[in-house]
């Protein structure tokens, strides 16, 4: 059996979606800026896609949707673009401690450019505290970026309350959220969240890699980070990746169609999985929150006395593919910052395993995973010099 439980990193492209992409690669392959009819058809499809995505997040118009190569680019355009364009208003930026790596790198780049960055901590379940945010706001604050759902520990951030706090300020503070783990999994409403910018990545919901979008609320002052031919959109030069965009649209339609039932099914499955692991394996710690505050797409456990890369590799040999927060699995050899951010120690980070589902994950797969997990954990514990109580 092959079970892919690393869906937070990427998902498979659904056949229905691949079909759409294939069609736009080989049949409707024209560029939307051509003068001829086939190009015009593509232009119309692209415009409809823009409107579809706008509607799917309750934005006002398709013009607020900027297609990108994915969430990393979206995050770059949003944060660097807003920071540079609003520098005359202030040089202070606030991010959370659980941001995606790209946001972290962007923040340190901006520091080099003379911006000040406040990283607000998270509590031991992975939530930011609103009073920390309020305290961090200064007159020079121009942008707040908070991830919608923590991608390691699954905490759903209080976007609505953050938006509320920011809108109460006497000066304009732009609000960006990286919604890579939220879009097409939860209902998303940019008006309810009061966000100005939102990053989305296609390959997290069964669309191809290399495509995503950025919601940019009308009136947002933003500078491009790349320059080139004026295409659809001045904010992002270069021809649109139409096949991938159309594939992303199909993927989003399919996901959103069943969004509520997917959520409730996964919620049950998640509880079942957590219960089973906690009752059948000793010395496990659930990283991140329990219940409603956690995305049902994510479970993250630390297994004490053993190391995560060894666990994930052993599981992979049994056909179960997961991610680990162990330093040994990272190119930089650093333990997972999210586990450290929620107060975990290095051992907990090294021993952490992230299981992330998609809406097709089944109970049989969970049962199989738990069985294999039990044997892998007990085998690795047998060979470990560290034992419980030592």
């Amino acid at each position: 059996m092959k079970i892919f439980l690393d869906n937070c990193r990427t998902t498979r492209v659904l056949p229905e979606v691949a079909q759409v992409v294939l069609n736009y690669m080989t049949n409707n392959f024209a560029r939307p800026d051509g003068l001829y009819e086939s190009a015009q058809e593509v232009y119309d499809d692209l415009t409809k896609a823009r409107e579809f995505f706008a509607k799917s997040i309750n934005a006002d118009s398709g013009e607020e949707i900027l297609f990108t190569s994915g969430a990393t680019e979206s995050n770059n355009v949003a944060i660097i673009g807003v920071a540079r364009a609003n520098r005359n208003k202030g040089n202070h930026i606030i991010i959370s401690a659980l941001e995606h790596g790209s946001v972290m790198s962007i923040a340190s780049q901006l520091k080099n450019e003379g911006f000040e960055v406040t990283v607000i901590p998270v509590d031991d379940e992975g939530f930011i505290k609103l009073e920390d945010l309020e305290r961090a706001i200064r007159p020079s604050t121009i942008l707040v970026s908070v991830i919608a759902v923590g991608h390691f520990v699954g905490s759903i951030m209080p976007l609505e309350q953050i938006g509320e706090i920011l809108s109460r300020q006497s000066h304009k503070i732009y609000f960006h959220t990286d919604a890579a783990e939220m879009y097409a999994k939860f209902p998303v409403d940019v008006k309810k969240f009061k966000v100005d910018l939102m990053s989305v990545s296609g390959h997290k919901f069964h669309a191809p890699k290399g495509v995503g979008f950025l919601y940019v609320k009308k009136g947002t002052k933003i500078e491009p980070i790349m320059y080139g031919a004026e295409s659809f959109d001045k904010r992002r030069p270069g021809g649109e990746n139409v096949p991938a965009i159309m594939g992303m649209k199909r993927a989003a339609e399919l996901a959103i169609e069943n969004i509520d039932s997917s959520l409730s099914n996964l919620r049950k499955l998640q509880e079942y999985f957590i219960d089973k692991v906690e009752s059948q394996i000793d010395h496990v710690i659930l990283n991140g929150p329990r219940g409603e505050g956690r995305t049902p797409y994510n479970v993250n456990f630390s297994f004490r006395f053993i190391e995560g890369e060894a666990i994930s590799l052993a599981l992979s040999m049994e056909g179960v593919e997961v991610a680990t927060g162990s330093a040994c699995a990272s190119e930089k050899l650093e333990p997972n910052y999210a586990i450290l951010a929620i107060g975990g120690d290095h051992e907990r980070a090294h021993g952490s395993i992230r299981f992330t589902f998609d809406r097709f994950t089944t109970k049989e797969q969970i049962d199989y995973t738990v069985e294999k997990l039990k044997s892998v954990v007990s085998w690795l514990r047998k060979i470990s010099p560290i034992k419980a109580g030592r």
Binding site: L35, E37, Q40, E41, D44
Partner: protein
């Protein structure tokens, strides 16, 4: 730009791009667009007995010229004075915003008949 069947017909099969014996003519040029339209009319008793055009320019100018001719042929010059851009757009089935170049042929026609007192 998606063109309607009507537009395609006007552009591909213009019946009035011809040479006629005319009584009045006028030309309008939009230099910034590179568009040039000349309208020829044969007028008898305030009626347009024959009409023709020559145009060089974008497809919209050519289609609009043909549309103007089709609308105007056989009509009284008072009717011509009531024509506006909207009528031409209807005739062309072309509603994309902007493209002021499509006004050129109607302007030329009105200029051609402007000296006639009714």
């Amino acid at each position: 730009m998606a063109y309607s069947e009507r537009f395609k017909d006007l552009f591909l099969n213009p019946r009035y791009a011809q040479d006629i014996g005319y009584t009045h003519t006028a030309e309008v040029v939009y230099p910034e667009h590179g568009d040039r339209v000349r309208i020829f009319v044969k007028i008898e008793n305030y009626l347009i007995r024959d009409i023709a055009f020559k145009a060089s320019g974008c497809p919209r100018v050519i289609a609009a010229s043909e549309a103007v001719c089709r609308l105007a042929n056989g009509r009284h010059i008072d009717f011509i004075k009531t024509l506006n851009e909207e009528h031409i757009r209807q005739e062309m089935e072309f509603f994309d915003k902007g493209f002021e170049c499509i006004r050129a042929p109607l302007e030329a026609l009105k200029k051609a008949i402007s000296k006639i007192e009714s």
